[in-house]
């Protein structure tokens, strides 16, 4: 068997390797002999494995693709085999064009020989002076693909989101919230305290605040667990 001295990493990818094999074995890129190409390709892959080279997944994928093409060509469906072979040939032709163009462009490279300078730094008035019809705003709005109703809902949620997104809500702040609520209304339905709260942190903090206030004896929870009220308010009510 022919010994192959090579390094797989000289190839830019499986297509590059295939092009190499095609030119080396003088195959016709427009009508590739798949079995021959497959045989040669696998030889390279085997060799690479023996050398413990890390094979990019793309190389193995290509092996599978070649095997598939060969398999299908053995089946009594010549059209399909022809189609998938054409697809591979197309890719190879396109890639070979790319390689040639890259080679040509490379010869033109002069990027390291031309120098430019930084823009002069002067202080400028940066105020926007262009004019637009207001309809531009409506246009931009529809481009975002946001439903108007959603936007309004989000606007309502903003006050909460603004807080929730920025920090974890502290229990203390909710103790103050619950107390304020009680000062204002005398008693509060527990579930109403959670109205409008969407953030988990806020809800948890509120719940903990209620427990904390109960534990410390500042407030009491009604027998059916639906309302809270100040202890002293309760006394007054009892009198």
């Amino acid at each position: 068997m022919e010994t192959i001295s090579f390094k797989l990493d000289v190839f830019e990818g499986p297509l590059d390797l295939l092009l190499h094999l095609i030119s080396k074995h003088k195959l016709n890129i427009n009508d590739i002999e798949i079995s021959k190409l497959l045989e040669q390709y696998l030889l390279y892959i085997e060799q690479a494995k023996e050398q413990d080279l890390e094979l990019a997944g793309e190389f193995l994928e290509m092996a599978a693709r070649l095997i598939y093409i060969k398999t299908v060509s053995l089946l009594p469906k010549p059209q399909e085999a022809e189609d998938i072979k054409k697809e591979l040939q197309g890719a190879l032709i396109e890639y070979s064009l790319c390689k040639k163009a890259a080679e040509k462009l490379k010869g033109q490279f002069c990027g390291h020989d031309i120098f430019v300078r930084e823009p002069l730094k002067i202080k400028l008035d940066s105020e926007y002076k262009l004019k637009h019809p207001p309809e531009k705003l409506v246009e931009a709005f529809f481009r975002m693909n946001v439903k108007k109703a959603d936007l309004m809902k989000k606007a309502d949620e903003q006050k909460i989101n603004a807080v929730v997104q920025q920090k974890v809500v502290s229990v203390i702040s909710k103790v103050v919230f619950v107390l304020k609520n009680l000062y204002r209304h005398g008693k509060s339905r527990i579930d109403s305290l959670f109205d409008g709260m969407t953030g988990r942190s806020e809800r948890v903090a509120t719940f903990l605040a209620i427990l904390e206030l109960t534990k410390s004896g500042r407030i009491m929870i009604s027998d059916d667990n639906t309302e809270i009220f100040f202890k002293r308010v309760n006394k007054n009510a009892a009198e």
Binding site: R117, L120, E127, H132, A140, F141
Partner: protein
């Protein structure tokens, strides 16, 4: 090396440096004698002034710098300012719209609506004077909120925010009414 080439090398070096270049470094890099340098610069400057050129070489202590000629300063300023006056990007226009219709809003809100980080785009809008910070958003934590400015109103030909066009699209409305018609059938 020809005289012109020596001058060309000096010119190229001074151009690309931007900053003032020390005499010795300029001479060394352009491969000319340090003693010849003043004469070469003089020749170059003479050429510039003969042509009413836009640039000239200034001597600053023991350094040289290529600068624009003062008489053209107004054109330079106009050009630089006009560069800043690029039309708003799509992203900027979107962020501006979100703020305009919901102000005051936080960066977080704009991000939420657009589904993409909008921090830098909002900073740009503030730089351009179209948005400004607003402390009116009265929620705990007092996050920084933004509102549109008078410059915004001027740019969009509005005399107040009440004149913002409604967020409706004609064709959409028509579609909707068609749809409703179908449902009725």
């Amino acid at each position: 090396m020809q005289l012109n080439e020596k001058i060309g090398a000096i010119e190229a070096i001074l151009f690309s440096s931007g900053e003032p270049v020390e005499e010795f470094r300029l001479a060394e890099s352009a491969e000319v004698n340090k003693t010849d340098l003043p004469a070469l610069i003089k020749t170059l400057n003479q050429r510039y002034s003969d042509n009413d050129s836009g640039i000239e070489i200034l001597k600053l202590g023991a350094k040289y710098q290529m600068c624009t000629r003062k008489k053209y300063a107004v054109y330079v300023r106009t050009a630089m300012e006009s560069k800043k006056q690029t039309p708003l990007s799509q992203a900027a226009m979107e962020a501006l719209t979100v703020v305009a219709y919901n102000q005051p809003v936080t960066k977080g809100f704009v991000e939420n609506v657009r589904g993409i980080d909008s921090s830098s785009v909002i900073n740009t809008l503030v730089d351009k004077g179209l948005l400004e910070e607003d402390s009116r958003l009265d929620v705990p934590g007092h996050p920084v909120a933004y509102r549109t400015t008078d410059t915004f109103l001027r740019s969009f030909g509005l005399s107040s925010l009440d004149e913002l066009p409604p967020l409706e699209r004609e064709d959409e409305d028509r579609q909707r009414s068609l749809l409703e018609d179908n449902n009725e059938e």
